[in-house]
Structures are given as C-alpha cells and as structure tokens.
C-alpha cells in the first residue's frame, strides 16, 4: 500500500466570499509524506484552504502546486488527492463494499481486480464482516473507517482530512487518532489534516500551521508552536498561558547555558523578571511575557523559593482528577494560573485549598516572550 506522497506548495492564496475574507495571502510548504495539520478556530479559513486544495473552491489569487505543477485548472475529479469529509459523506444507497468500490469502478478496474482491492482495503481498516452493511447500519467510528478506505482506494498522493473526528465521541476520537497516525505510517502519503482541536494537532502532526481570521499566523513543528508561539493568538489558542504585557529592559548573553537572558518589566506582576530567548531583544521594546501554568511550581505556605518567587492566596482551586488547577492571587494583585499534576499523593504533603497562602515560582528558561507589540489601552 505504499504511495509516494506529493510535496504541496501553497502560494499567496487569497479567497473572499462576498465581503468576508476567508483567506488572506496564505503561503505554505508541505513536504512529501508528512502529516500536516491546519489548526484554528472555526471560521479561520483552514477548511476553505483544504477545499481549495481539493478543488471545491477556486482561489481569487495564488497558486496550488503539487510537486511543482499547478493543479488549479484541474476539476476535483482529476486531482491526485482524495478527501475524508467531516460528516463522512458516505453514499447511503451503497453498502460498505459499494462505497469503497465506487472510485475503483470509475477508474476502470476489472471486476476481479476491483474485488481484490476492496477486500484488501476492508482488511486494512478492519471492517471485515461488515462488507454488506449500509452506512445507516454502521457506528460513527465504522463510518469513518469506510470513508478513509474509500479515500485511499485510488492510492492518492495526498489525503485531505476535514475534521474527520469531530463527529465522534471523545473516547473514540482518541483511538481513531492513533489509528490515523498508524495508517499514515503505513501508506506513507502526504496527510493534510484540518482540525480545531489543538490536542489532536499537537499529538500527530509532523508540522502544523495556525490560522486565525484568514491569516496564517505560524507554521512549525508542534514543539516549536507550543514552546515558542510567535503571536499572542497562538500563545493563547494553543494550551493555556499566563500572558502579561511587558517591556524589555536589557539583554545579555549567558555563556554557560548558550542562551540569551532578557530582563523584562512586567507591570501586571509588579516585578522585573528574567526570561531566556534565542536572541537579544532591543531595549524598550513592548512585547508579551508568558508562562505555561504547568511549568509553575506551587508550594503551600509562605516559603522563599528563591529569586522570582511570588506569594499569594488561592483564589479558586479546580480539581480535575489527575490534576488540579489553581488561580493564585499574588500579593501584587495579579492572577497566575497554575496546573499541578497529582503524581504521588503521600509525598506532596497537605492539599492546597481555597484561601490557603501559597508560594509559586518558575525557571527563567520556562517563560517565553511573544514578540507582538502591545498598545496602551485608551
């Protein structure tokens, strides 16, 4: 079942629906055979981009290249990609077998060859025994497998997936996501995966792109996007953050750790903090400081945990089984969100409760700067 996978190049794609700008000058390169996610809130343009690649929408401007060749003039049926639809879009009048054989018939395969291929695909998506059921008799997960088998039937170079798991329940989503990843490993073709679920995107993608309001904000590996978001939107959309406007005061090179240490003034925290970055930041620049809640350490009582330690009271604890979330109101008046995983019950001492005094701290290397300028509120 090895396909080859195409490299896809999106160049300056712009698309408007009336006065609504769905995509605004989006450029993107996708390497052959990779699992690439388009992530963003609904209405951000990610699905429109997928539909442009599939051929269901025409861009106002720009190019879509498959391995260097433009596909914009080709109708959807001629493009070397197939799509898995959000609501499965199975043909209700055909059986599982009929659905999977549908594209093969068009391709002009002989009956014997076709049957063989359908059998192979049914085994591949583990639907053996459901061959003759109609889509109406299948569960959501089974429908999605049929949709995937049908899309893979003609061995496309690229598989487009439009929120394929969003119609399924949470538990099933998890297991199907793992299966999708395995399928990607087996067929080796390029996957373009549209989702609004950051967890899905972070866990399976080789690379991902973040969209908002028709613009591509950031593309990179999940690690890059999570650990160093380049825009305020990315920082707040992916994961949770404590994000505060700040002003850079000075930058210095730390020989020992091979990194830059920036000193920033954070008025909301009432402090001057140190944070590491890849390079120097010009003095006086306005930007944002962010620290992820799970990287903040929380200890009960007023304890001096070293420089950069904050003291405060727990405003609101939220217990969530394997972890707890605390909103800590610092003595300076800021609110810091803290996530604490419950690892070993006994070693952690007394539980932290509402109105308890606590101390929190984080390492300078765990914070990061979001280089987007803030403006004085008027």
């Amino acid at each position: 079942m090895q396909g080859k996978g195409s490299a896809i190049s999106i160049q300056h794609i712009t698309k408007s629906f009336g006065s609504f700008k769905a995509l605004d000058d989006v450029s993107l390169d996708i390497a052959p055979g990779e699992f690439f996610s388009l992530l963003g809130p609904s209405g951000c343009g990610k699905t429109t981009l997928l539909r442009i690649i599939a051929g269901f929408e025409e861009p106002d401007q720009g190019e879509v290249l498959f391995d260097g060749t433009s596909v914009l003039r080709l109708p959807p049926e001629k493009r070397p990609c197939n799509m898995v639809f959000q609501n499965f879009a199975l043909f209700p009048h055909l059986s599982v077998r009929g659905n999977i054989a549908f594209p093969l018939k068009r391709k002009g395969l002989g009956k014997e060859e076709r049957e063989e291929r359908v059998d192979e695909l049914i085994r591949f998506v583990e639907l053996t025994g459901h061959d003759n059921k109609k889509p109406g008799q299948l569960s959501g997960g089974q429908k999605q497998r049929v949709a995937i088998a049908r899309a893979l039937a003609c061995e496309p170079d690229v598989l487009l997936l439009d929120e394929p798991l969003s119609a399924l329940d949470a538990k099933l989503r998890q297991s199907l996501l793992v299966e999708l990843d395995e399928i990607h490993d087996k067929v080796g073709i390029t996957f373009i995966y549209v989702t609004h679920d950051q967890g899905e995107a972070l866990s399976v993608s080789d690379h991902m792109a973040i969209f908002n309001e028709g613009r591509l904000l950031q593309a990179g590996t999940p690690y890059e996007i999570y650990e160093s978001p380049s825009t305020l939107f990315t920082a707040s959309f992916i994961g949770e953050g404590n994000i505060f406007p700040c002003t850079a005061l000075s930058s210095r090179w730390d020989e020992e750790d091979d990194e830059w240490i920036i000193t920033v003034d954070v008025p909301a925290l009432g402090r001057t903090l140190e944070v590491t970055d890849w390079g120097p930041v010009e003095d006086g620049r306005r930007l944002y400081f962010s620290i992820r809640p799970e990287k903040v350490r929380i200890v009960a009582g007023d304890v001096d945990l070293g420089p950069g330690c904050f003291h405060g009271i727990v405003d609101e604890p939220v217990y969530a089984g394997y972890q707890s979330k605390f909103y800590v109101k610092t003595d300076e008046g800021a609110t810091i969100r803290v996530l604490k995983s419950h690892t070993t019950y006994l070693e952690e001492g007394p539980g932290i409760e509402w109105k308890d005094r606590v101390s929190v701290i984080w390492r300078p290397a765990d914070g990061y700067l979001v280089k987007e300028e803030w403006h004085e509120e008027t």
Partner: protein, 262 residues
C-alpha cells in the same frame, strides 16, 4: 377499572372502523359472484366475469384509456417533478419560495375549479378535448405529489456526497447519475405510484376535459350507472382490488431494499 375498559373500547372502535372501511369492498366482491342481477343473493355464478371478459368492449376501451393516461401522465409528472425538486433545492433564488407554494396549488384547489379552469383554457386555445387534454390535466394535478415526495427525500440528502463523488473521480454528470439519482429513487418511485393512483381514480377533472371516445374507467362506470349498476362492474372491482393489493405488496418489498439507507 378504566384500564380494563379502555382497550376493549378501542378494540371496538377498531372493529367498526375496519368494518366501515372494508364492508363495501366485501359486498362488492361477494356480489360479483351473484348469479342474479339485483341485490338479492341468488346463488354462486361466474357469469359476470364471463361477460367482463367476452362482451364488455366499451369497458375495456375505458380501462385501457385509463391505463395509458395513468402511465404517460405519471411518467411525465415524475420527470418534471423530480427535476423541479432538484432544481429548486440546488439553486435558491428570489422567487423559489413562491414557486414552491405555487406547486402545491393544484393539490389544495378543489377539483371542480381545476377542471373548469382547464376546460376554459383548452377551449380558449382551441385544443380539441380528448386523450391529450386528459393527459395534460392529469400531469398537472400529479405534479405536486411527485414534487413533494422527491423534495422531502432531498431534505435528507447529504449534499457533501456530491463533492465526495467528484473527489472520487466522477464528473458533474456522473455524480448526478450515480449519487443523486439513486439516493432520491425511493421518493421518485413513491411519487410515480402515487401519481398512477391519483390518475386512475380521478373523476371530476377528467369529466371536464374528456372528449368523445376518450372516456376513462371512472367516467365509463359513472355513465353506465344510468342504466343501473351492472354486476360486471363488481367483477372488475374485485380484479382491480386484487391487482392493487399485489402492486402495493411488491412495492413494499422493493422499498425495503432502500430502507437500510439514510
């Protein structure tokens, strides 16, 4: 106490409803085997069946007229109605709402009004009354039913399956033939059968637009009543009842093969 009596009461209701529904049919069926002419039972005989098949030339002519009109007008109404349903669902424009309402009009208007207006229309354009005018009239009053049944089927239709078909290698025409048409087929078939039934049983409208030599079965039966009801009609009725029951049964089996879809 009530709990005991209520089912008994509803059983009684059911019994009487069934009685009123089927008694006339049973009477007709029974008297088709009566050897006498009147409504007194004079012994079993098949003489009316003999007369039906040997010496009822005009009756058979009317019967075949009905069949021809029913088939042609239903076919036309099904094709136009399905196309209209698909078209109005695909392209909604300013007037599409009004067109939908207008399509239902023939269903709501009293038959007498439709009949008279058609008669006036046909004579104003000097169209001679006959088979063709009956065909045109039947097609018209059948349209709302075929349209309605296909339209409701289209309400359940998942339009993304068209894109799926395109994505999987079909062009526009292929997607229409291999995805849209099979999906709405149950609606198309029920519409067609409904139209046939409506056409065969129509009396009022046909009465206005028929001409010499184009009498359909209901018209023939009505005119023959003037000379007293012939038991030959009873014989024909039983045959028609059995035939439509058989058709309904076959159609049900046929529809069942679509039942698993959706």
């Amino acid at each position: 106490m009530r709990k005991v009596h209520a089912p008994r009461f509803s059983q009684l209701c059911l019994f009487f409803v069934m009685l009123f529904l089927f008694m006339p049919l049973i009477v007709v069926a029974a008297y088709s085997f009566n050897s006498g002419h009147g409504m007194t039972w004079q012994g079993f005989s098949l003489q009316w069946y003999e007369e039906l098949f040997t010496s009822s030339h005009d009756l058979w002519r009317a019967f075949w007229n009905s069949i021809i009109i029913a088939l042609t007008s239903s076919l036309t109404a099904t094709v136009i109605g399905s196309a209209a349903a698909i078209g109005l669902k695909w392209w909604s424009f300013k007037l599409s709402g009004y067109i939908k309402v207008a399509t239902y009009l023939p269903m709501i208007l009293p038959d007498v009004i439709i009949g008279i207006s058609m008669l006036i229309f046909f004579s104003s354009i000097n169209l001679p009354l006959g088979m063709f005018t009956i065909y045109a009239a039947h097609t018209t009053f059948n349209l709302p039913f075929t349209y309605l049944l296909v339209d409701s089927r289209l309400d359940e239709f998942d339009f993304s399956t068209i894109e799926a078909a395109r994505d999987l290698g079909e062009d526009r025409k292929g997607a229409m033939l291999r995805v849209v048409v099979p999906s709405i087929m149950p609606g198309v078939l029920s519409g067609f059968l409904m139209a046939i039934t409506m056409s065969i049983e129509d009396f009022v409208i046909t009465f206005f637009v028929s001409g010499p030599g184009s009498a359909t079965l209901p018209l023939y039966v009505y005119s023959s009543i003037r000379y007293g009801v012939s038991p030959v009609i009873n014989a024909l009725s039983l045959i028609l009842i059995l035939a439509s029951m058989a058709l309904a049964f076959i159609f049900r089996r046929f529809l069942k093969s679509f039942a698993a879809s959706a």
